[in-house]
Structure formats: C-alpha cells, structure tokens
C-alpha cells in the first residue's frame, strides 16, 4: 500500500516533469528572456514647439551609472563617492536598494543594474575619467527634457521614470523607462515617446556577452518620437504668467475660430525644469506638499462660482425661450426684492432692458428673468420642467461636463439638476426664488476657467465652439478629429449679437472700462464671484475684436475682490499683447500695477 502510494506519486511527478519540460514551450521562452540580454536602445523624444515654431522643449543627454555586481572588484569607495557627489552611506544605501529583490525584482548579480540615475554633466565628466579604476561600472546615456522657457509647466507636463503601475498597464514599458506625466507629455505620450529599439545579445551560462544574436537579425532600430506643435503662444503664456505672479488663479485664452488655446495659465506655477533630474523626486514631493499647490492646474481643475460672467448665458437662454425680448424691461431697486428675498445690486438706471443690464451687470434683471422662466407654469407646467430645459441649454454651452481638452485631469464643474433640488428642498417644494442665486452664477453653480473662456469663444463665434485644445500639429499625422468638430449650442445664432453688443457696452461704458483698448473693439463681462472660503474672486470674460474675434479670454484671480480690479486689467493686457504685440504707452501703468500687485498676502486674512 505504501509502495503503491509512492509509485502513484512518482508517476504524477513524471507526468508533471514531462509537461513542464517537453510538452510546454512556455517556460523555454521565459528562460530565453532570462538568457538573452535585450539591451534597449532609447529613441529621442519628440520635440515640442509653440504655435509660431519657437522651440519650447527639447532633449539633453543624461547619464545613468550601471553596474554588473558580479564584476565589481574592491574599489576606492571614497574616490567613487567624490566623483558622483554622494556620501559613502548614501552609496551603500543605493547598493542595498539595488540588491533588494522587492524593490528591484529583476536583480541578478550577472546582469547590468541601474545604480545611479541622472548624473550631472560635471559628475559624468569626473566619473568617466576615473571609470577604468572601477571595474564592473559603466555609464549609460539617457535622454532628459530641457526647457527653453520657464513657462507653461502645467501644459507641458514632465517626464518621469515609470512606476510599477505603468508597467502593469502597458507592457511597452520596462523598469527604468521614462513616461510622460501630466500635461501634453502625458496626453501625447504615444506620439512623443517614439519606439524603443533593441539589441539582442546572447549570454552564456556564465553571464558573459557572446555577441549579437544571429548577427543582429532581431535587432531593431529606435524610432524617434514625433514632434509636436502646440497651439500655445509661448511668449503670450510667459507674459500672462508674469501678470499672475503673486496671485492665485487662472488665465485661459482661446482662438475662437479654431478652439486653439493661446495661453493656459495656472498660478502659482513652477519652472518645468525643476521636475527633471536626480532630485526631481524630492522636489516633486515638496511641490505636492506646498500650500499653494502649484501642480494643481487651476485653469482646468479649479471650479469657481462663475459669478456675473454667467449672465450672458442667462440672457441667451431667456431670449431663446422667448421669456424676454431685447426690449423687455425689468426694475432694479438696488437689488432684486421678491417675497422677502433680496439680492443686492448697485446704483444704475431702472427699469432697464437686456443690453444695459449686461453693461451694468445688473443682478436684479437676471433674477427677474430667471424667475419669469422658472415660474412660468403656463409654458412649462412646473418649476422642475422649466429648470430641466434651462439646464439642457447650459449643458449645450459646455457647462456641467468636461469639455474634453487634451490635457489630463480636467474637472467638469457643477450644474445642479432637478433631483438635486428635490432632495434638498423636497419634491415640488422649490421655485425660482428658492434657487435664485444661480441666476447670477452663484449658489451651487461651479465652472472651470476653461469653460468660461469657451463661453467667450462661443459668443465671439456667434453660436458655436470647437473643443479647446493645446496641440496644433503632430508630425506626420493629424490632430484628433474631435478638435476640428464644431459644437453648436441650443441657442439660435441670432441672439448672440445682442449679448455681444451688451458686452461691448460693458467695455465702452460699463464695468469693463479698463479693457477699452484704443483701436480694438473689445467685448467683456466682469465677474465678482462670492465664495464661502474668503474674499470674492475677481473674474473677467471677453473677446476681441467685436467682429471676427481673434482671442477669447477668461481670467480668474482668487480672493482679489471686484472683477474690475484684477480680472479686467489682466484680461485686457493679455488681449492687447496678443493682438498688438505690445502694450500702448498710456496703458503701461496698468501693466506695472498688475506686475507689482500681490493678492496672495491678503488671501489668508479672512476667516474661512
């Protein structure tokens, strides 16, 4: 019986050995990948230009120190440490990490291991000179990013070493490879990275290189990455960033005709080259921890109450729904007063029609208009049905959902829906007065600066927009079709002229007078967004010129007060810079004031 048991076990084991060794070739292949040394040949990464062909991002060589632990003989550790600027303890730690099977699963004392990454040029020089004294070590050339401008970090993104999760997601990557992180480097990674080449070398049982496998028949050349032309004007970007120094907020400028983004500023920002090189990991962590969150891309990720920049959308909806005509008058008695409710306003003539209401940014006008629509049971049946239609128009204008910019991490903002209010106030227990603050872009409504700039572009185009995007051309191919397609909101195109005129009036004689450029017809709308976290945000939305606009813009400066104090000047300066190339002498004082001002220092003073 016991003998029978061991015979059965032996037969099972023989069968298993047979399947492992003879029947299944899978393990042979695994072993091949162990025994062959596939040496990666890294392609150069695609170069990034701005819309006018200025070089923005290019490549620089970097040097990694590789080591074949088996070949290392006793060496002068101090001398080595001096060459690469490390303390002996740090070097020991690096060796320990390298040998740690958990951190470095592919460790073998016979195959090349990465010991140090990103040597500086002078470290490389010093080490190269002494390398003959350190058998087992060699230097591998890699490619790092170099930046011509200290600008657009939030658009460009950066390149970092792959993490395990990247390798799990895409088997193109091997440990030690680089991958685009955040920004264009991330979105267009598949174009920029090129295709790695390979040299297949053979090793014998002793780990020695026996030469190329089949005389290089399986070797593949690296294919360089594709170059990319951004839609950004890098000098405009740089200029807008300088205006936003010492302020928190965002500036987004779009060419309305094409949806191409001319500048996309998130402030505070950082020098993109900080995320390159050996200490980049530590810097990255510092930045993540920094109070101002420079890696947070406010232009597409911050969601603000749109404030009065919302009013044009309201005018459009009211006109489209036939609630008002261009001549409809609403009263304003220093505010909207209805049923014990009061929304304040400032001094101007009353009653007034749509265009002067836009010009003076009258809160009461848009509250009455909103109330007239939501409470119009004769047309819609109920507040909920009216609100649904209102929301449908808003979504068609790009609010409440991601626009789909070609940068990672875009936020969708927030538009409440009927269920939201039903849940909060009870089914049928709410009316226009309950939710009146959304009529003036307050309350629950949230939008990104990108969505507001897109609205400016839509009005500039008199009724359509193209999804905003930051890449204009990709070498040897075309930009994705979604960045060529027109989106038409549910508003008849005729109504846009009314709004544009109102916005023109706001510049010539209303809240945006500071944006009144001498020979360009600017249209604009201020916003002063109340927020529960502190002083009001200063906002501006506009486009220029009035006919066939070349630029549409949204500016948000956090905790900076009235829209007219920061939003309008910054917006107008960026438009002027783009359209005229320089700032008119009589407007230089505005520029200087913006460059010198600091709103961050006040931001923290107000209690939350």
């Amino acid at each position: 019986m016991i003998g029978g048991f061991i015979i059965v076990i032996t037969l099972i084991y023989l069968f298993r050995l047979f399947t492992l060794q003879v029947a299944d070739s899978k393990y042979k292949e695994y072993a091949d990948s162990n025994a062959f040394l596939r040496k990666a040949v890294y392609p150069s990464r695609g170069i990034i230009y701005d819309r006018d062909g200025r070089l923005v991002v290019y490549n620089q060589p970097a040097y990694d120190v590789m080591v074949i632990p088996r070949d290392v003989k006793d060496f002068d550790t101090l001398d080595f440490c001096r060459a690469v600027n490390l303390t002996p303890d740090e070097l020991r730690k690096r060796f320990a990490d390298m040998r740690d099977k958990r951190r470095n699963p592919g460790y073998s004392s016979y195959s090349p291991q990465r010991l140090l990454t990103h040597l500086k040029a002078e470290e490389y020089g010093r080490l190269q000179e002494k390398l003959y004294r350190f058998p087992g070590f060699y230097i591998q050339k890699r490619i790092l990013r170099e930046y011509n401008y200290k600008a657009a970090a939030n658009v460009l993104g950066n390149v970092r070493e792959v993490a395990q999760k990247d390798i799990d997601k895409d088997d193109y990557y091997k440990p030690g490879d680089y991958i685009g992180d955040i920004g264009v480097e991330h979105t267009y990674e598949s174009y920029l990275r090129g295709v790695k080449g390979a040299e297949v070398l053979m090793r014998d049982a002793l780990g020695r290189i026996q030469g190329r496998y089949e005389e290089g028949a399986l070797d593949r050349d690296a294919v360089a990455g594709k170059n990319i032309k951004l839609s950004l004007n890098i000098e405009l970007q740089q200029y807008a960033e300088s205006l936003m120094v010492n302020k928190k907020g965002a500036v987004v400028a779009i060419e309305p005709e094409t949806g191409e983004i001319l500048c996309l500023v998130s402030s505070p920002t950082y020098d993109p080259s900080l995320l390159v090189g050996r200490e980049s990991g530590a810097k990255d962590n510092n930045m993540m921890a920094a109070l101002d969150k420079p890696l947070f891309n406010r232009a597409i990720q911050a969601t603000y109450p749109p404030g009065s920049t919302f009013k044009p959308t309201q005018g459009l909806i009211l006109l489209e729904e036939g609630i008002i005509t261009t001549g409809t008058l609403f009263p304003c008695s220093h505010g909207f007063i209805s049923g014990g409710l009061r929304v304040g306003c400032h001094g101007h003539g009353s009653p007034l029609p749509l265009k002067p209401a836009l010009q003076t940014s009258c809160n009461a006008y848009f509250c009455w208009g909103f109330k007239a629509m939501i409470d119009k049971k004769s047309k819609y049946g109920s507040a909920a049905k009216a609100f649904d239609i209102w929301k449908h128009h808003m979504i068609s204008m790009g609010y409440g959902y991601k626009l789909g910019i070609d940068l990672p991490g875009e936020y969708r903002g927030f538009l409440p829906n009927v269920e939201f209010y039903n849940k909060r106030y009870g089914d049928g227990h709410w009316s226009a007065n309950t939710v009146i603050s959304i009529a003036i872009g307050q309350g629950e409504i949230l939008a990104t600066p990108l969505q507001i700039a897109n609205l400016a572009a839509t009005i500039g185009n008199r009724g359509h927009y193209i999804t905003p995007h930051v890449v204009k051309e990709i070498q040897d191919t075309v930009v994705p079709a979604e960045y060529l397609e027109r989106h038409t909101p549910t508003i008849a195109s005729g109504w846009y002229n009314e709004i544009a005129e109102g916005m023109r009036m706001a510049v010539t004689g209303g809240t945006c007078r500071l944006a009144n450029l001498p020979d360009i017809e600017v249209c604009g709308k201020t916003g002063t967004a109340q927020n529960p976290h502190g002083k009001d945000h200063s906002a501006f939305m506009g486009f220029a010129p009035y006919h066939n606009p070349k630029i549409a813009i949204a500016v948000y400066v956090e905790n900076a007060g009235f829209g007219a104090t920061f939003g309008v000047p910054i917006g107008s300066l960026v438009m002027e810079k783009y359209l005229k190339g320089s700032i008119a002498p009589e407007r230089k004082y505005i520029e200087e004031r913006m460059l010198a001002s600091n709103t961050i220092q006040f931001a923290g003073t107000k209690k939350h």
Partner: protein, 491 residues
C-alpha cells in the same frame, strides 16, 4: 586483532550479507548529488570540483566522511542499536532542546549548532534516533498498537516530542518530516481511514483554496474539482473498502451518466447550477448507500456514508471560513504560505524561477554546466533546497526522470527490506526510513515543480549540507546493519 565488545565479531558475515544493491544505489545518488552541487554552484572564476573552497569540494569531504561513517555503522554490533535506542533518543531530544538556546539566529531559525568550523543541524540526526526509538517501542514484548489507547499515546509521544522541539527552533519544514511516521503507524495496525481522512482534508483544502480564479459550472473550479474528488472517494470506498461491487457500478454509472449530461448541457450553453448538481448527485448516492445499509447492515457502508457527509461539510466550512471569516489579507497570507498565490516578487519568485529553469531544460537538457537559469543565479537556494532545478535544466527530462526513478527504486528497495525483516524492530525501523524518504522526495521535488507548497526541506543526498547527508547515511546504514544480521534470528 583489536576487538571491542561493541564491534561485531561476525564482521565477515556483515559484508557477506549486507545489501550491496542498496549501497550501490547510495553511492550513485551521493556522487550524482556532488556533481549537481558542483554544477549548481559552478563559478567560472575558480572552477575546481574538488577544491575545498567550493561547495562541491566541501560536499566531497562530507561524502568521504559519510562512507567512513557508514563503514563504522556496519561494524558496530547490531544489538547496540536496539539496546541503546532509548538512550540515543533521549540524548538527541536533549541536544534538540539545547540547540534552541545556544544556536545563533540564521534567517530566524535556531537550528544550527556551531562547533568551530562545522555547523550541524541536530534535527537531521533526530530522524534516525526517533526511528530507533519507535522501533524499540513496537518491538516490546506483546506490544500491539491497537491493544490500548496507552500504546497509541506512547507512539504519538515519541513522534511529537521532536516535532515540538524542532518547531521551537523555527524549522517548520524539518518538523513536518516527522509526521511521515504516521505511515509506520498505519503499517503497524493504525486504521487506514485516519490516513485517508488526513490526506483528503489536506487535498480538499489545498485544491479548494488554490483554484478560485476560474469558474466551472458557475462555481469556483477548485470547489468543483473537490466535489469530483468526493465522488471519486465514494466510488473508491465502495469498491475497495466495502467490496460492494454492484453498488460501485451503479454509483459510478450514476455519476458518469449525470456528469456527461451536465457537461453536454453546459457545452451547449445551458446554465447548470454547479453546487446544486454536485450536492444533488452526491446526496442521491448517499441515499442509495443508506438504503443498501438498511438491507445489508454492513458497517463499512456506514463509514463510507459518514466520509461522504463529512467531506461535504468540510468543503462548505472551508468555503465559509476562508471567504467570510478571514480578512482578505489573511487569505492572501495563507495562499502565499501555501505557495498558492503567484506572488512573483515575494515567495512565489522562487517557484516561478525554478519552474522556468526546469521547463527550459527540454527533453535532453542544456548540457552539463550550460544551464543559463541556474548559472545566472535566477534560482535561489539552488545548491540546497532547489538543487533539482539544476538537474532539470542541464540534464533535461531524461536526467530528472532518472533521478526520480532512482529514488523510487531506493524507496521500494527499503520497503522490500522492511518486509523481509524477521523482527518487529527491524521492520518498524525500515518503514521509518522509507517514510522519511517518501516525505522528503514528495515535498522537495513537488515544491520545485510547483505541485507542493514551498516547505524548505532538502533533497536527500543531493542538497548541499553535511548534516542532511550524515543524517540520511545514519538512517540507511543502520538499516543495512540490521538487515545484514537478519539471518542471526532465523537460525
């Protein structure tokens, strides 16, 4: 000529009657082991098989000492082993106890006694001492294992004392080896049902926990396979244990018939509830057996039914305990501990690499010293616990099958030696030896080819290490000495 009372005065008869066939096998295995160690630890900088700075050279020295040891063992009077069995056992227990406290910490275990340049592992020597002691107990006048509970207690105490001490040294693998002595108890009258129950419990648990990824008939593959194993168990018990051949045929037809129908249905895309089918089919078989029991009143049938019901309860309780009671990280730890989880960066790394090494060997192997996997140190512990990888890679299926068959022949030979012993002492001792070899072989090779959990025990005669080699030499040569004097009793 010098004569001691200890040494046998029938030296010539020892060499006349000693089993040269086993000695031949021993020498072949030991030399093959040395060559494998040389290949596994081969270092192209200083390649010298017999150099004492190499593992193979050191092993050569151990082999030389082992042969001398074997000679001395053969020369000692056979009565010494029987008379001093308890003293040897108690001294080894004492040594194991001392080791816990004086041994240095090597990777968490305290099992090595360091005596100057040599380190010894008392757990390896405990094997032959325990075997002698157990043999001595059974050879007592009128000792019958099943005669009383006290006898069981004595036998179990002899087995479990070293297990407890070795567990305290944190050498779980070595401790488990002693569990193989249950084979001996089985040979000496312990009910085979206990062995079967233990085997089934381990098998069911491992299979059920291991194959949870794929589904079969809408239930985890592992559970489905365990249900099938239970069906097999019922059929096997009905035929072999109950000798109810007509019932066997009926139940077998029932299982196969319904199995084919269910298989065909699910192939056609008709969803069949797996648990309902299996439990239903087994329940019908159980009811059939119950009816049969009422008719025949055969006690064996009752036990068969009990086994089937207990198995079903076991399956569901494993399922409930494992998936509902245990936290995910605890489940993971059990899976990794059993070598079930493919944790390629942690515990699973060794097994995966050893499978690659063996699998890449192919039919004929890559040739002596040409194994890339083992030479490039992808496989860890390759000159000790994972030595079989080197054989698999360099000598291929031919070589590894040959080693497996050599061990099979050795074990069968030891069993046949056991059965020809005229004394209970000789027979029990020989079965102990066979049990140890079976356990080491099954676990070590099973682990390397990924069929068993990773339990770090050496492959006899192959794995590098003097203690292991000496331990097995003691075991085998004492057996040969006892066997050589079998005629003294028959005359």
């Amino acid at each position: 000529m010098f004569k001691s009372s200890v040494f046998s005065d029938k030296n010539t008869s020892v060499f006349k009657y000693v089993d040269w066939f086993t000695i031949g096998l021993y020498i072949v295995l030991v030399l093959a082991g040395m060559v494998s160690i040389y290949a596994a630890s081969y270092d192209f900088d200083h390649a010298n098989m017999l150099s004492f700075s190499e593992f193979s050279g050191k092993q050569f020295r151990w082999i030389g000492l082992s042969l001398m040891l074997g000679l001395v063992i053969l020369l000692i009077d056979v009565r010494v082993y029987e008379n001093y069995a308890y003293i040897i056992y108690v001294s080894l227990l004492f040594l194991l106890l001392v080791t816990i406290f004086v041994a240095p910490d090597i990777k968490g275990s305290h099992s090595w006694l360091v005596l100057g340049p040599v380190s010894l592992q008392p757990a390896e020597f405990g094997k032959f001492a325990t075997a002698l002691c157990l043999a001595k107990l059974f050879s007592g006048y009128n000792f019958v294992l099943n005669a009383s509970k006290k006898n069981y207690m004595k036998a179990l105490m002899i087995i479990f004392l070293p297990i407890i001490l070795i567990l305290a040294q944190n050498e779980t693998g070595s401790a488990l080896v002693y569990m193989s002595l249950f084979f001996v108890l089985y040979r000496e009258g312990m009910s085979g049902l206990i062995l079967l129950a233990a085997l089934c419990a381990v098998l069911f648990f491992v299979v059920e926990v291991k194959f949870t990824d794929t589904l079969l008939l809408g239930i985890p593959m592992g559970q489905a396979v365990v249900f099938m194993l239970i069906m097999l168990l019922i059929v096997a018990m009905l035929s072999i244990y109950c000798k109810q051949f007509e019932a066997t045929r009926n139940v077998l037809l029932w299982f196969v018939g319904t199995g084919i129908i269910v298989g065909a249905l699910s192939l056609l895309g008709v969803p069949v509830p797996g648990t309902a089918y299996f439990v239903g089919a087994i329940a019908v078989a159980i009811i059939y057996c119950l009816l049969l029991l009422l008719k025949t009143r055969a006690r064996h049938l009752l036990i068969t039914i009990g086994a089937a019901v207990a198995s079903l309860i076991f399956v569901f309780s494993v399922d409930i305990v494992f998936t509902s009671v245990l936290q995910p990280h605890q489940q993971q730890r059990i899976r990794v501990a059993l070598g079930i989880e493919e944790d390629l960066r942690g515990a699973g790394y060794n097994v995966n690499q050893s499978k690659i090494a063996i699998g890449s060997g192919g039919f004929m192997g890559k040739g002596f010293l040409n194994g890339t996997q083992t030479k490039l140190k992808y496989v860890p512990e390759q000159h000790t616990d994972f030595i079989f990888c080197t054989i698999g890679e360099e000598e291929g299926f031919v070589g590894s099958a040959a080693v497996l068959l050599l061990f099979l022949i050795l074990i069968l030979r030891v069993i046949s030696l056991a059965e020809r012993q005229p004394t209970v002492f000789g027979r029990v001792y020989a079965y102990c030896v066979a049990s140890y070899f079976i356990f080491h072989l099954c676990i070590n090779i099973g682990m390397v080819i990924g069929l068993c959990p990773v339990i770090g025990i050496p492959l006899p005669f192959f794995s590098y290490g003097g203690s292991s080699l000496w331990g097995f030499t003691f075991l085998l040569f004492i057996l040969l000495r006892i066997d050589a004097s079998r005629r003294e009793h028959s005359f």
